[in-house]
Symmetry: D2
Subunit: 343 residues, 4 copies
């Protein structure tokens, strides 16, 4: 079988690997769709990010769906042929954080396609994949492409849950890439009354509008586009910072009302934070990292039509065009979510 | 001008009253629509409920909308002719609870149509009404009937906010009258993944399904209809108890998972609560009472089409048919929300 | 070795059992002290409570301390001879509640001395006990009697954490047995500004005063002793209901201010709850059940002198006087906490 | 009467002012003690801080106590001669934040000794002061010096409440000036199991130890003094950042466990924040600003001996030595809290 392997920066290959067989409690999947995430692009473009660096070839990918091909011994409740979203979060279950229910902070996490530990945790962009039965979430009723969106949607749902109260609230989202766009949808589903979105790219803002933004502001054209929201100490209750850019964070803080909450999802480097503003308005800057139990919610909300991710899938290319797919994903002026079809 | 006045149990009259004029900071409304609430029915049917008793004639009504007819001195930001939802909550702003932001617990509350203090607080079912400017919430884009639904919707939104996390959760609603049905919509808007509704009346459950219940259970036909949800210590995360009936509360508690939250909205008498179950599952039984800041959210969510209350308005009758309207509202097998048109 | 075994109601025996040896990861303890809890008394007096009934002989006890006598293979970080508080909570670690961090709701809990599953979970009142290494919490600096208080103190700490904000707040505690008295201490340590305690027994209230109550009210002598606290919708922020008696719950609810929190720890039968009061004041009635991570906190807070439990230990009797110990514990006019010395 | 007036940086004078008389609802105080706060020092040393600049002479001071000298018309419940702590927070009660109960964010706040609005809000360092009756909190049983500590203690209590759960938790405090030292005491009173304090000054750390720190680390001597706490993703649950220094913030973040909370009280300039760490550990960086309802708690907790501030009062000088007092307060190697006696 074939897999998409990053050997080093800009050295992406479709490698031939040994076929695999499911052991007890495991399931063999014939992979259907894999979505390219920002971290996949970092490995592809730069061989990593910050302290996280490729030290050996690594299969990329963690946003995947597949069809059940074979059941290992003792697996029940799963049917051959069914479409599943694959939970890429594999905590150990035993460390102190797992025991406290903070599974996204597992000390021994094996998240697909991560170069942080060595040997690296191989990813899921392959034609076949053996997974634990508990990683399979039945995705009946969804397309394979939607099923593969469960992962990034979970990121947005996790951040939305951590943000606290959303019902009836005013929400600002800075950065309208795939995560920003999913935050629009998650915040709307959680009852946001008003959603304003900023970005520097027209294309991204068009997507934002399509998936539910009430208003979009192109900060490249209107650098002061949020200034009016700062009157009377601010307007927004919640800010999802999805750009990883310090100016977006600062502009958002100025537009937040006292006790406002900033969910930091965008990952950039260090950021200069105006601490007097944070202190005087008693703002609350919270990190949000991956997800765990939200994965099942994500599939269920899509299945019930309560969140509609199809408009975000801008491109789907076959495995043989993996390189084109990565280059397409690199071009924010064109792509929202680029996916690869494995079969 | 005419108003709907309860003189005593089963003695409802359309009385002729003096016209009124707005003072400084006030607004005169030509009333449009008034919805009949359960408490109005209690005054009509029984002259009150529990310790709350009519001691003098009282204008009923607190779910109302109207058109702005005249502005008192100093009022700005409101246009003659505009449709407004009328906030019936009038806290004093000075007592200790108001100062803490708990305005629905104001020690000097003057909520429309309340027989609790004496002299009673007169209600809003009249052809004209003078209100404070801050009570007017612009309802542009809504029908007058929808605008009058802002009040009961606020009750549901307040309970939903007090319930805590809803996004992706399993919700049980016992009692599918207007408040139960609005809780379905509020919980859905807040992101509930699954909503199961119980009632004893087929008609009410049909409404429940129409406004978004995933499943309905007629407890009259299937007294054990929730039993399966008790496996593994329970299934639901949140229970909105809107029936005021002890068996519904107890059945819901059994079906709630550990740490589940029960929002008690239904008002019955005392209830026998299985305290060992409450303790052993660490359930959380919370009262919810009226609302305040949710009123503005309610109008906004309706205006944006994020909550759709029209299906709940089952009957609209003219002022001259007020008595028929009250009798219609009494008949749960027919009516969901009955409204009276004042003009 | 000997153990205290309940054969049926009022049939308590000191039985001779086989000695035990620690397996890998286990520790053999020479037991020091065991405190008699209310549930032990229920088994002794009535053979159980509610649906929980003795169906076979069961060793009682779950409030215990001991000295390390032998280490199983692979155990590190524990020294022969050291005094340990024994965590009696043994969740499975695998069920859905364990995975979510709600270990006190484990579907397969093996809590010492519980007749709920069959075969029963044997208790810890024995001269020797083999425990998992993770159950041992070093209790250096404490007396063996204090070390055995870690368990009931954990119950109080768990309830206090679940109560939410305590710092600077007004606290009411109804029922001043051992759990009520420990709630006094936990609430004080969490920063309660004022603590009022009620009971029907003079002796219990004397203890309450000794461990920190600002004021005590004997409800037998002054049935209206809390009435003044009901003015202006109520006075207390938090109510720890430790009596299991409905009149105490109702009196407390009347004395709670709007949004007040009732922690229900006392276990009685069903209780008639005034739901209109709960709804109108938006009270929050929360169950609290056992504990888990609080056990380590409990030992640490005692070791640092931040909570002082010694005054609560009213009687200590040797194993051979176990029957006298249980009868002593039965007499609330004499005993606060009765403990049994195993060596 | 005389008052301490900052005319500009390093131009502090004892000016003679007109005597004042209490109007209706007001109280005339003969001032007893005033404590010098960091913001007073900023006005004295630099004429302000950040964008806050002296534009006219301003009486300094907001940490004050006094004795009641005269009652205005209609004032009840206050006795001539009684010692009171003076609440310096004077919100308008009408703006949107006041109505929501967020009185420390009042849009029209008149906090004593603030150069932010123009004309400035005059402070309370004067021999006589007319205050609203509601600003007087009876301080019976306290010394006048302790009564004047209610203000900074309220700052610490407010931050502690905003930090969430403290009972049984591990707390890090960076910066052990008066606010840091009061956070030690507030955190201990709220149940912190372990408190570690860092500073660069030996004297400050000695104070920290005296008021309850379990361990102190001099970061000047041991720049890596917190490094061991970073193992397994971190150790502390809560970090009170009272230094306003970026290295302290960053060292604290590294030592916090996932989901840890940083309360930012120290006011420095902008700070470079390691956002990847904040995101990956899901840290929560919260501003804390002043207080409101905590003021009454502060007095009550001191009166009951639950918080003991006396050890923090390092110097007390007469009004005539005001300049010496400010210079003393400037010398962190000597002073913890410097107070001025007005009578």
């Amino acid at each position: 079988m074939r897999a998409i392997v990053a050997h080093q920066a800009k050295d992406l290959r479709i490698d031939e690997l040994e076929n695999v067989k499911p052991g007890p409690g495991e399931v063999l999947l014939q992979m259907a769709i894999g979505g390219i995430c920002g971290s996949d692009l970092h490995y592809y473009n730069h061989g990593g990010f910050g302290p996280v660096k490729l030290k050996q070839p690594m299969i990329l990918g963690h946003e995947v769906s597949g069809h059940v091909a074979e059941l290992g011994a003792g697996v029940t409740g799963i049917r051959i042929g069914e479409l599943v979203s694959v939970l890429p979060s594999r905590p150990c279950g035993d460390c102190k954080y797992c025991q406290e229910g903070l599974r996204n902070h597992c000390l021994n996490m094996r998240f697909y396609g991560s170069a942080m530990p060595y040997p690296h945790i191989q990813g899921a962009f392959s034609e076949q994949l053996v997974v634990d039965a508990v990683q399979c979430v039945n995705a009946e009723g969804l397309s394979a492409g939607e099923a593969a969106m469960a992962e990034p949607l979970s990121v947005a749902l996790h951040a939305t849950r951590r943000a606290g109260e959303i019902l009836g609230k005013k929400v600002l989202i800075t950065g309208s890439g795939p995560i920003g766009a999913l935050c629009i949808q998650a915040a709307r589903r959680a009852g946001a009354a008003e959603i304003v979105v900023t970005d520097l790219a027209t294309n991204a803002l068009d997507f934002a509008r399509k998936v539910g933004a009430d208003k979009v502001v192109n900060m490249a054209d209107q650098p002061q586009g949020l200034a009016d929201y700062s009157a009377d100490k601010g307007y927004f209750d919640v800010h999802f910072e999805c750009s990883g850019s310090a100016p977006a964070l600062v502009a958002g803080m100025a537009a937040l009302r006292p006790r406002g909450v900033i969910m930091q999802l965008g990952i950039g480097g260090d950021m200069e934070v105006p601490m007097i503003m944070l202190t005087a308005k008693e703002l609350d800057l919270r990190g949000s990292f991956r997800f765990h139990e939200e994965f099942a919610f994500a599939v269920e909300l899509m299945q019930k039509g309560l969140i509609e991710v199809k408009p975000l899938i801008s491109h789907t290319l076959p495995l043989t065009d993996a390189l084109i797919a990565f280059e397409t994903a690199n071009d924010r002026s064109q792509a929202m979510k680029t996916q690869i079809a494995f079969s």
